[in-house]
Symmetry: C2
Subunit: 364 residues, 2 copies
């Protein structure tokens, strides 16, 4: 039933779109875009009412880059979400402790604060809940909350900064507060200033004709039915393969997506609609990471989600538009991390026999 409604919405969208296509011109295109999308702001000042203090952001940055949050001391948040590379690792699916290959492609951390939830299946409500996942996942950082807290408590400079970041708390150094600090830092990882955002803000010349054609197609063909809002996606859940199921390489049948979270049959192969912000920087595509070419990814979305075969020209225009979603990448000073002490648990690099959980309970 849910799927049917969804298809109807799409169909209506497509019909409506072809009507508008002919008559639409400059200002109207901008107005339509403004009604569906929103520019990335230069700054977020609070999340869920929590103030993002400089101390919390600083602590979060240390933690984000600190490989000692992993059992091996080799993997940090930045390993899979590399700020030098669009906030991803450019891997099909991420490689973690013991060179284990995780089940899903790493989503970008950039602008992730604007997503409705985190992970491909939305099993974490926010970045704070998300941050706790990879630290513990056997195929990622392979650590435990206890070991992380012991590590952080053994380093005086960390203890000092936790106290400043979480003033008045009885136990300022905790796994929870570490995750909250990481969330605070991640909330600063925004990419404002893209050509598309300049267009949204009223500069009609920020997009060229091909890019405008792509934007129009993006809305007309139905892409923006799912990929809308501030993150051009990231705002809801949809079945992957609603019109035509992609090959089992692209949609591995054992990963049922959100079904693992809700255990509702209607959530089989349902995933969070990924944000398309900075999409040009973050191949390979889809949760399986099997498609490196953005043109190919667009074609697959056409057939799998919209049931249409996009022409090469249309695909080229849509890709041209998608490239305008690349914003200014956040620049950060690489942190100098505080040294460990005799009390710090030492790194363990041994590969503990682990089974890669492909059912979506672990990994991105």
């Amino acid at each position: 039933m849910k799927k049917l409604v969804f298809c109807l919405v799409l169909a209506v969208g497509v019909l409506h779109a072809s009507h508008v296509l002919a008559e639409e011109t400059g200002d109207k295109l901008m107005q339509r875009a403004q009604s569906q999308f929103e520019a990335i702001p230069p700054k977020v000042t609070s999340i869920k009412g929590i103030k993002l203090t400089p101390e919390r952001v600083k602590l979060g940055k240390w933690l984000y880059f600190d490989p000692r949050l992993s059992r091996s001391w080799l993997i940090s948040c930045n390993t899979c979400h590399n700020l030098a590379l669009g906030g991803v690792d450019l891997q099909e699916t991420s490689i973690g402790h013991g060179w284990a290959k995780g089940p899903r492609n790493a989503p970008t951390v950039l602008n992730a604060v604007f997503n409705i939830a985190q992970f491909w299946d939305g099993r974490a409500d926010d970045l704070h809940a998300q941050a706790k996942g990879p630290i513990q996942a056997s195929v990622e950082m392979n650590n435990t909350p206890e070991r992380v807290v012991k590590t952080l408590k053994s380093i005086p400079q960390y203890v000092k900064l936790f106290k400043k970041a979480f003033p008045g708390e009885a136990e300022p150094v905790s796994f929870d507060s570490a995750a909250e600090a990481i969330e605070a830092f991640e909330a600063t990882l925004l990419t404002p200033g893209s050509s598309f955002d300049q267009f949204l803000k009223g500069d009609a010349r920020a997009l060229n004709e091909e890019e405008k054609k792509g934007l129009k197609l993006f809305m007309d063909k139905g892409c923006s039915t799912c990929h809308h809002g501030i993150n051009v996606g990231g705002a809801g859940y949809r079945p992957f393969g609603v019109m035509k199921k992609p090959s089992s390489e692209i949609l591995p049948r054992e990963d049922k997506g959100r079904f693992a979270v809700t255990e509702s049959a209607s959530d089989e192969y349902v995933f969070k609609v990924p944000s398309l912000r900075n999409i040009d920087l973050t191949p390979p595509y889809f949760h399986s990471g099997q498609v490196w070419d953005l043109k190919e990814a667009v074609a697959i979305m056409g057939s799998a989600q919209l049931g249409i075969d996009l022409t090469d020209d249309d695909i080229a225009a849509i890709v041209a538009f998608l490239k305008t979603l690349t914003g200014e990448q956040p620049r950060v000073e690489y942190p100098i991390l505080p040294p460990h002490t005799e009390e710090t648990p030492l790194p363990v690099t041994e590969i503990i026999a682990v089974e890669t959980k492909k059912n979506g309970t672990e990994g991105h």
Copy 2:
């Protein structure tokens, strides 16, 4: 014969030292230190007559942080020589492609430009020659020069920067010039301003009494016979275990050090004297990385190199002095790397069966 002369030099040093110990006071200690050591400068402007241009340093920084120099796109220079962690990876021996464990501990990149040569066995004359090693080592980045050049040539922003960094060259993008650019960036990774350097520059109060006692012992007991100069080491080669061979855990018998380079019997178990700059930040110690505790490392050096059992008090003082060798860590902006293109060879993470070469022809 060589060893005998070396022992005699040490013995004379020790005798002379105990005589001086009693009568030495403030100014004299400073003068003695100034005759054996040199402060780290804030900047190096040229290496071997090569000018370090801003373009070359910028390119070198990109390359240093770019994991796409490795076959897997997961390992960069910064993985083993992490600028957040004193320029090392804090591993016993480094972990590379396929989670392979390399044969030796990663020496710090900080101030490495002042070392007589690179790698534990000095098989690279300079940082330029060194940079080429790990990129190709099967247990490190596991790449080939051809693949690196193909990668760099496929990225327009890299090509542009290579042309700026190596103007007038017929082939600006080459494996050689990549290594030279990395060298240029690494030459900026200095740690001036340590307490010890402030003392060397005339501030008698930069060291406290315990640290001064440690400095005196360091010179008196014979440590500075090998660990002298700007890097408090890094200026020559010495056999490890000249007085007493350490256990085979600390001195693995299959790694004969410089012997693999010179094939001269007198170079068996000879290694480059490591720099002690920032030594407090860079455990575990020795080429085998088997000792995490600096006190223990000092005790081992006493027995192995000097044939003496240092007292706990003396060890504590020497360690207090060694901690004054920690300088200001270099702060860099984390680079935003240029995106790859359709022409870029994609990452390969498969583990190709490799045998870890423990004879010193590969690894740090």
